[in-house]
Symmetry: C2
């Protein structure tokens, strides 16, 4: 019965094309321009087909977000320079996080701002997001007792820096200064 396998493969492939098209359009013209009609046109199927893959539009955003979670963790881990000190490692991760956010703003938006239908209530948090959290915790840990709380705060600062800058609330030119300042605060001995 290789037939149903072939069909499943074809369906998975089409699903990937939908996700890819959504991500591409979002990055090109913003999420507002990612409509179900436009996606249908992009993959050369009629609209209702999309609803055989995703429950609604939000679920498509969610699928893109999930893809992003799968990329962010590795990016952060890879960002730490060889032989970096603890403080340098923290700075590397911080800068890598912000670069990720600014280079793929639509992807970042899907992951952390838009309603994506993704649930994060403890147990069903995607493994890839746990992994991202772990990457941050690894560099924060050396500097504090309660690593989880400290990582949440660390992450919050990065997210705030990304969002406020994206909305033009803080000055783009001082991005590096803010990171340096913030890492200094965390890494100095008390």
């Amino acid at each position: 019965m290789g037939i149903s396998e072939r069909k499943e493969r074809a369906k998975a492939e089409r699903e990937q094309r939908i996700i890819g098209a959504a991500r591409m359009l979002a990055e090109k013209d913003g999420w507002a321009s990612v409509t179900v009609r436009r996606l249908a046109q992009e993959i050369e199927y009629s609209q209702p087909v999309l609803y055989a893959h995703f429950q609604n539009r939000d679920a498509i955003v969610g699928a893109v977000a999930l893809e992003g979670f799968g990329e962010l963790g590795p990016v952060l881990r890879a960002s730490v320079r060889r032989g970096a000190s603890s403080a340098e490692a923290m700075e590397d991760v911080a800068m890598a996080y912000l670069e990720f956010a600014f280079e793929r703003p639509a992807l970042y938006e899907a992951m952390f701002v838009l309603p994506s239908g993704l649930r994060f209530a403890k147990s069903d948090t995607p493994q890839s997001l746990r992994d991202t959290f772990g990457a941050m915790m690894a560099v924060v840990e050396p500097f504090c007792e309660n690593a989880e709380v400290a990582t949440e705060a660390f992450w919050a600062t990065l997210h705030g820096l990304a969002e406020l800058e994206r909305h033009g609330r803080i000055r783009e030119a001082f991005r590096k200064d803010r990171v340096t300042h913030f890492i200094d605060m965390l890494s100095r001995r008390s």
Copy 2:
């Protein structure tokens, strides 16, 4: 010529009713449910009347946001306890900021997340927002050299804490711990 004054007064009053209705509906059912039709119904006029007051829907969000900016600054200033130390003052402002964000989530969203049509390119930043920034800078200043950069980072942390918690990315139960941790980092002598 009291006629035109009377008309202006009536128009301003109606404008305020639109803003009030938008804010109320947003807080009750979320911004997605704040439609121009619904607002028109609320103020008992037809839709096109709203466009005599605001260029488009975003401008209505912007007007609500502006109202929020007018409230946040004073709230922050009033939050500092009498005789508080520098570190305590910073903590008071941080907690007040988060309480503001969580008690009026829709207002906060209008101010910092939604497209509001408000421009922040340096010179035309609303005075009330500058004022809010000033309130934060006042408590951050004692702890750093470059107060502006430090305040941007301080603000970013608060914004990140508010947003990540609102989206269920970090644990509600540890809000106080995160603030304590973060204030500790900033206030300890190096």
